[in-house]
Symmetry: C2
C-alpha cells in the first residue's frame, strides 16, 4: 500500500496537502476508495481510505491505527564530518534505511566543505528531505532528524546526556569494535563520530575522548571512504543490538 | 606512499606500464628517487624506488617485500541480482573497500536489467575496473574478482565446494542473521545472495535453499534498497568473523 506523510491528523480522518497530495493525485493517480497508509512521525501508522480529493488537499478516513515495530530499539546517531555533497546525501539516505535515529553534520578540522548561515540551513533542509524520503521508502514511522551544522563544542548538547560515543579512527590500531560494543548499554543512545574525507586530526580524537568520553575504534586494516566507514559502523552497532534482523 | 599495480615483476625490479605509468608520470608527476608501493595481486606488497622513467614504462627497484595482513581472513562473496548500473557500481566499490572476496552478477527473475554476450562482457570488464580501483584506494593486496554474468544454475560452480550460502529475503520474518552466522565456519567461504530492485521470487529462494543449502535470513523490518542490503549483510558477516576491526 502507498505510504504518505500526514499533513493534518484528526480523530477519524487525516489530510494530505502539497507534495503528498500531488504525489497521490498526479504521480500515483489514486482515487476515492483507494487504500493508503499514513504516518505522522510519532511512531504510529494509519490505514485509511481516500474519501475525497479537493483542490488543495486529500481527505482520508482512518480505518485502523497501528504502532509497527519497525524502528531500531537502540537509538544510533551519526555525527558526520562535512563531506562533499554526494557523500553526505548518501550517508543520510542509507543511514535512514538502516535505521539511524538522526545525524549531526560536523565542522571537522579537515572538512573541505565550508558552509555557514543561510547556506548551511538550506543544506540541512535538503538533507532532511532526503532523510524523510528514505524513511518513507523504508517504511519507517519516525524520520531521522538532521541537526544543524555544528562545531565540536556543540554536539554534546544536541544528544541525550547518556549517549555512548564511539569514534572510528584510522590510527586506532588496537581497540576493536566488538569489545567496545560489548561494553555498551542497549537502552542508552549511541553516537558514531565519522571524519570527513581527510580523516580526523589527532587533537580532535583526543578532544572527543576527553570531553565526550568517546572510545576510538578500528574498522580494520582496509582504508574506508568516509561514507563507507559511516555505513559499516552504523551496521555493526545496529547489528550488535539486534536491530538489523 | 603512492600505490601502483605492477605490470611486470622481476627479482629486484618491477615495471609499470600503460595506465599505471601514466598515473605515476602525468598525474602524480613522480621522478626517479621517489618511493612507491607496488602490488601484484598475489597478497604481496613491494616498497620500491623509481629508478627510470621510459617512454613506455617506469622501472622501480624493489627495496623490501611485505605480506600485509590487510585482507579479510574469511572469504565473503556477493552474488548480486543485476540492478541498474549505478547500484551495482556502488556495491562493487563499497564491497571492495569493506573486503569482499569477489562478486557474481546474477540474472535474477525480476532483474530489470538484461545483458547478454559482448555487452555483458564489457560490463564485467567495467565492474572489474571499479573493483581494482577501489582495491588500490583501500590498500588491499588482492583485487576482488568480478565473475561473469551468471544464471542461477551456474553460480554453484563458480565458488568453492564448501561455500556457506545465505540469502537475505524480505519475506523471511523469523530467521535472524546472528544465529545463522553463529553456525558458520570462519575457515569456509561465505556467499551472500542479494536480490535485484524487485527482490527475489519465492521460487528463487526455494531453489537456493534446495540446491545451494542456502539459509534465508532477515535484515530486519525496514525495507532496504538492494545496494543497502548488500552492504549491510557484507558488513555483518565480516564483522562477525572479526574482519572489520
Amino acid at each position: 500500500m502507498n505510504r504518505f506523510k500526514i499533513t493534518e491528523l484528526g480523530r477519524d480522518f487525516f489530510w494530505l496537502r502539497d507534495a503528498e497530495r500531488e504525489h497521490l493525485v498526479r504521480v500515483l493517480r489514486l482515487s476515492p476508495g483507494d487504500l493508503v497508509v499514513g504516518y505522522d512521525n510519532t511512531g504510529r501508522e494509519y490505514t485509511a481510505v481516500v474519501v475525497n480529493i479537493e483542490d488543495k488537499s486529500v481527505t482520508c478516513r482512518i480505518l485502523s491505527t497501528d504502532e509497527p515495530d519497525v524502528e531500531a530499539h537502540t537509538s544510533v546517531y551519526i555525527v558526520a564530518g562535512l563531506s562533499k555533497g554526494e557523500r553526505m546525501d548518501w550517508v543520510i539516505q542509507k543511514g535512514t534505511e538502516l535505521g539511524m535515529a538522526g545525524l549531526i553534520p560536523l565542522r571537522a578540522k579537515r572538512a573541505i566543505v565550508h558552509i555557514e548561515g543561510k547556506k548551511a540551513q538550506d543544506r540541512v533542509a535538503r538533507w532532511q528531505k532526503i532523510a524523510s524520503e528514505a524513511a518513507k521508502q523504508s517504511h519507517r514511522v519516525l524520520e531521522p532528524e538532521i541537526k544543524e551544522v555544528s562545531d565540536w563544542k556543540d554536539i554534546k548538547g544536541l544528544l541525550p546526556e547518556d549517549t555512548q560515543w564511539i569514534i572510528p579512527y584510522e590510527e586506532e590500531k588496537s581497540q576493536r569494535m566488538a569489545p567496545v560494543l560489548g561494553g555498551m548499554k542497549a537502552e542508552h543512545p549511541v553516537a558514531i563520530i565519522i571524519g570527513p574525507e581527510g580523516g580526523f586530526e589527532e587533537s580532535e580524537v583526543a578532544w572527543a575522548k576527553e570531553n565526550l568520553g568517546a572510545q576510538s575504534v578500528s574498522l580494520g586494516p582496509r582504508i574506508l571512504r568516509t561514507e563507507t566507514a559511516a555505513m559499516a559502523a552504523l551496521t555493526l552497532v545496529l547489528g550488535h543490538f539486534g536491530d538489523l534482523g
